[in-house]
């Protein structure tokens, strides 16, 4: 997959210029240009959605919503950052909005993540789990904090604000996630 910004030197500049041309066309309503932007960035957006939700179907749905939101907000993109960075941030907001809206609904009796860990342990005793799979098996809150901290490289104060939790809770969840991952990967 071609991801603008991952080339080197002149190619990188040319790639960024091409990408900006695509953005300009898309801002004028050109869906073919937007499809090319989608193809360039869908992998990163889907990875974020999948890691945050641990649910492939839901991740696909949120990826779709993210690109619809990106399309709607294209007029706000002012080239202060790369399109990839900007669109990734829009996608993150879509995921977090979904999670906040779901958090307001009545909670389930059992944590899906905890159940996933039990299944993983019992189904593959002694097996070394793939890290990607292990992250998905984490309890929801621990997984979200881990993904935002370790993969998205956000600070605890940012994570706390985004998830509506205390900074101390964010640190505790990260610690918990690391412990669980170590156990799952051993």
């Amino acid at each position: 997959m071609h991801i603008p910004g991952e080339h080197g030197g002149e190619n990188q500049e040319a790639g960024a210029a091409d990408e900006y041309s695509l953005v300009i066309c898309a801002q004028r309503g050109d869906q073919a240009a937007f499809e090319r932007l989608y193809r360039n960035h869908v992998g990163r957006v889907f990875a974020l959605c999948l890691r945050m939700t641990a649910d492939r179907e839901l991740a696909e749905e949120l990826t779709q919503s993210s690109f619809v939101r990106i399309w709607e907000q294209l007029g706000k993109f002012k080239r202060k950052s790369s399109f990839g960075t900007w669109s990734h941030r829009v996608a993150l907001n879509v995921v977090l909005e979904y999670m906040r809206s779901r958090a307001r609904r009545p909670k389930h009796t059992a944590s899906r993540g905890d159940a996933a860990i039990q299944v993983a342990k019992s189904d593959s005793p002694g097996a070394r789990m793939d890290l990607e799979w292990a992250i998905r098996a984490l309890p929801e809150r621990a997984r979200q904090v881990f993904v935002l901290y370790e993969i998205e490289r956000l600070q605890h104060n940012e994570i706390a604000e985004m998830l509506g939790i205390a900074v101390g809770t964010s640190k505790a969840q990260l610690h918990r996630a690391r412990q669980l991952l170590r156990e799952l990967l051993e």
């Binding site: 997959m1 991801i3 004028r28 309503g29 869906q31 937007f34 499809e35 989608y38 193809r39 869908v42 992998g43 990163r44 889907f46 990875a47 999948l50 492939r56 991740a59 696909e60 990826t63 779709q64 690109f67 619809v68 399309w71 709607e72 294209l74 007029g75 890290l131 990607e132 370790e150 993969i151 640190k171 990260l174 610690h175 690391r178 991952l181 170590r182 990967l185 051993e186």
Partner: protein, 229 residues
């Protein structure tokens, strides 16, 4: 071997470089001595290395574009609508600018005309009965008030942080307001000097009405752009 629980919580902070230099050095010394903590810390480092090696992108198993494209059709309409509003807004701004220039030219033309003229001006003065004079003055006063209200609303909207007008458009409009105010002020002065010159009154009234109409349209479109996306 039982892990040292005293330092375990700090291993993550050490990995993230969130400890002070003193704390960090103390922990390093502890790690040299405590095999359990050293092992735990090495596993944390290994985990970080694994995370750093994760793929930056994961392709979905199916092509999501057809579904996205279908959803864009609805969003696309609003996108086009925004563009249409933007063009219409630009056209109105240009119209406002043209109207201001025309009025300013009219003022110059009138101020250069001698106070008492023969021909068409004489015909206008014939209409100036005292009753009609008062009625016209009232109409001018009403139009002036409407202009002041519309201008006030518009300026308040322009100053709001949510104003959807692009900065360059705002500058053009504010400039036009200055031109319009100056032109109206000059027409009024001319009318005060020549109260029987109804051509001036009509010009003043027309200038007021035109400005109210234009300013209300611009303000309305600006609000529509802001609220409708």
């Amino acid at each position: 071997m039982k892990r040292c629980t005293v330092t375990e919580a700090k291993l993550g902070d050490h990995l993230d470089r969130r400890l002070s230099l003193e704390e960090s050095q103390r922990l390093d010394r502890h790690l040299e001595e405590c095999a359990a903590c050293r092992g735990a810390y090495q596993r944390l480092v290994a985990l970080r290395t694994l995370v750093d090696g994760l793929a930056t992108s994961i392709e979905p198993q199916r092509d999501l574009w057809p579904a996205i494209s279908a959803r864009l059709c609805g969003a696309g309409a609003s996108h086009s609508e925004r563009e249409r509003r933007r063009i219409r807004l630009a056209w109105i701004v240009l119209s406002a600018a043209a109207a201001s220039i025309l009025v300013a030219l009219g003022v110059i033309e009138l101020s250069n005309r001698p106070a008492s003229t023969s021909g068409p001006a004489q015909n206008i003065i014939v209409d100036g009965s005292p009753a009609l004079d008062d009625s016209l003055r009232l109409e001018v006063a009403k139009a002036e008030q409407a202009y002041v209200d519309a201008a006030g609303d518009f300026l308040a909207h322009l100053k709001s942080p949510e104003a959807a007008l692009p900065p360059d458009t705002r500058i053009v409009l504010e400039g036009n307001l200055v031109i319009a105010d100056r032109a109206i002020s000059e027409i009024k002065s001319a009318w005060e000097r020549q109260p029987s010159e109804f051509a001036l009154a009509r010009k003043l009234l027309a200038a007021h009405e035109r400005r109210v109409e234009l300013l209300q349209q611009v303000a309305h479109l600006s609000f529509a752009t802001q609220n409708g996306g």
